[in-house]
């Protein structure tokens, strides 16, 4: 089948899609967006998290056909239009929250979604919001630091604007 949708603001089209393919597979193997990761492919690890019509989802659990005519935003769409890192991306680098980095794309999308609804989450709020994203390297401490940093920068930016 053919699937057409919007990925990071641009129209994309994938041909010869087998009906059993996930959105994750189509992104990674058919439309050149391998940033979303394939760590468990059963919705447990959050590495494949993308926005689907503005809502974070595990793209491994979304059948490709379900995204017809819908909007997908992936980790590749989190940077500024200038190409500079987005605020959440920069915070993860600065805080040392990236080691192997395989969980990072999903965590970035989930953190972006958290701060969009709650710019000043408590530590427990952060832990709850990110509890669906597994990381095996960091012990999460630097990820907590990154989210706190991103939150502080988000608030500082809001004040300056």
């Amino acid at each position: 089948m053919r699937v057409t949708f919007t990925a990071n603001g641009k129209p994309v089209e994938a041909d010869d899609v087998w009906e059993g393919e996930s959105l994750l597979y189509v992104l990674r193997e058919r439309v050149g967006l391998p940033g979303s990761k394939n760590a468990c492919e059963q919705g447990e690890c959050g590495s494949c998290t993308v926005y689907l019509d503005g809502v974070p989802v595990c793209s491994c659990l979304v059948a490709a056909g379900q995204v017809q005519d819908r909007e997908v935003r992936t980790v590749e769409g989190l940077a500024e239009e200038s190409g500079d890192l987005g605020l959440v991306q920069q915070a993860f680098v600065d805080a040392g929250a990236v080691q192997c980095g395989f969980c990072t794309p999903g965590l970035l999308v989930q953190t972006d979604a958290l701060l969009a609804t709650d710019p000043q989450p408590s530590d427990t709020d952060i832990r709850e919001a990110l509890s669906g994203n597994l990381c095996r390297c960091t012990g999460y401490e630097k990820i907590m630091d990154a989210v706190r940093l991103a939150s502080a920068r988000t608030c500082a930016k809001a004040v300056s604007e």
Binding site: A39, L85, V93, T124, S131, C137, G139
Partner: protein, 787 residues
Amino acid sequence: MSGTRTIQGQKNLQNIHQASKDGIGGSPLRPDGTLKVKGEFAYSSDMWHEDMLWGMALRSPHPRANILSVDISEALKVPGVYAVLTHEDIPGSKYYGLEIQDQPALAIDKVRYHGEAIALVAADHPETARRAVKKIKVEYEVLTPITTEEQCLDPETYGYVHEPHEYKSHGSGNICHSQKLVSGGGVTDEIRALADVIVKGTYEVGMQDQAFLGPESGLAVPAEDGGVDLYIATQWLHVDRQQMAPVLALPEEKVRLTLAGVGGAFGGREDLSMQIHACLLALHTGKPVKIVYSRDESFFGHVHRHPARMTYEHGATRDGKLVFADCRIVLDGGAYASASPAVVGNAASLGHGPYVIPNVRMEAIALYSNNPSCGAMRGFGAVQACFGYESQMDKLAAELGMDPVELRQINAVTQGDFMPTGQEIDAPAPVAELLQRVKDMPLPPPLDLENLDVRTLPGALSNTSHGEGIVRGIGYSVGIKNVGFSEGFDDYSTARVRLEVIGGEPVAMVHTAMAEVGQGGVTVHAQIARTELGVEQVTIHPANTEVGSAGSTSASRQTYMTGGAVKLAAEAVKQALIEKGRRRYGWEHKDITLVGGKVVSETGGVLVPMVDLLGDEAIDLTREHHHRPTVPFDKETGQGFGHVQYTFCANRAVVDVDVELGLVKVVELTAAQDVGKALNPLSVVGQIQGGCTQALGLAVMEEIVVKDGKVRNASFTDYLIPTILDTPPIPVDMLELPDPHAPYGLRGVGEAPTVSATPSIVAAIRNATGLALNRVPVRPEHLTGTL
């Protein structure tokens, strides 16, 4: 440029000697960080090639069976299938292995574990490959698996995993490897009589998985010269190639490996997984072949941490001085040897912990069984034993009525003491101080029943308690780990450093074959080059087999070994540049060095900018770094200078236990570790926190459940690793006591916390519940008395 410019004055000299803030000791950001947060870092599973095929393996559903026949004819008929291969299609040697070549690349006539690869398919789509795999017909004669210690040690009754004539190790029966150790007077009745108090215990450790997030994957591309190029996630490119080339019947130079992005490793990529399979398919079809394991295949596709059964006996005087310690450690190595011999060596030599014990006996063995193969995982043989000896320390403290930290401190090793192997600890060993440091850290506030947030309690989002039935406990532990390969192994590292002018600036390039698996070695290499060469711009060449071996990214060794090689190569480049200057300018200063892009001297000031001295020439030098030699342990006595370096970590765990439901929440997990010298403090702390968290997983949740040789939980739904809600704050107290034998005085950091933290958590749960808890992971049924 000619002549020498000299700047006079102390002030200016201070300025020109200002080392780069991004040199060693700083925390510059990862050079791969930007790509990783943009989703543009190419991991092994992201590799893509036009016309590539997808490879997939057929795996055995039985842990032990004879293969009577394999019929691939139906699979070959599936449209889109390009090849179906069995062991008969292997052009070279059919066996490989890290230490003992006992593992067939594809099963030959029998399978020895659940999930063993039997046949391979290459197809145009992963689903096509999956369907074709299902059409391969294998006729099995299913045999009763050999799975328990009793069965393994009675091969006459239960059979052999490997027939006696197949043994390629020094093992026998179903024993893959064994190591004994005796020191002092050993453990005899006379020695026992010297102790006022004796405590005994039997402890078990379940099978833990590395559970790296990036699945085994890679892309093999056949080359015009008949060779193959493999883009792969691994821990050691050169040892992969060494094992692959004989199977592919190719000379090593035709098997070229380039490191693709690695999504974590933790020991699980020390053995081969899909490397040979992808190359066999690529060479057979003449097309690029990509293999990406699913998560369940990943559980079958790599070795795990050895499950262990350990019997300990400790004797002490009434005032708490250890008199003797006796131990037997049985590790289940599973079907193939992998790294079992080295794991046994670690268990035997480190299995009595960082304590001074006048009389010691130890026997450690690894079994062959029809359980999943076990090998390297972070902590490597030291993890299991630490749970045993630290549980014993708590038991002994209780028996003596002593404070458990004080008991440990009374017996802690320090520099100048001897390990039970007879090896002197000839570097700082601040074991007692590390314990004091975690003890002195402020405790987290007590449970506040008035202002509860259920998300912070055991059960968390499941909303299982509002404070009722919750009991707090505190526990301590300390552990010891070796750094680098041991027992006479020369795991040298190679580094190439090139210095040249690019865009008007001096730029260093560092080229090694080090596997960057997330630890941040690439950051540290750039820091070393900056410090040694006085440059700001450093590029890291992709890791590949064009340069000599960097050894394995394991054993906490990469900063020590390959970092050390980068230091040697950079020093050589620096000397070559200074010699060039001496020849050109006739400098006679004895203290010439490179700082801030300039050649400088304390006495002569700025001599010349590096760009002027370099001109169009590049200085490009390669150096090997060998650690000091070690020797194998004596087979019977375990004596020998076997380890390169020791590393120590102490922990304090604070837990809340829901004693009615058996749920545990680790409230805080404090670590104190001597890191010698933190080359990159941000990364070092990240390593310690990550290491502690894997230990937390082993303490309360992680285990591959194997029943009758079959894996029952090969998924992230059923094999649980800690989430951010399960993981507490992990305060880290970092001590920096330089090791005189190591580059910059550094100490490997990655593994010590994974060794030491598990027993502190179990001790805290014991403290809360009063239960004995002789097995990890501690599960709810262990706490509620339902088991």
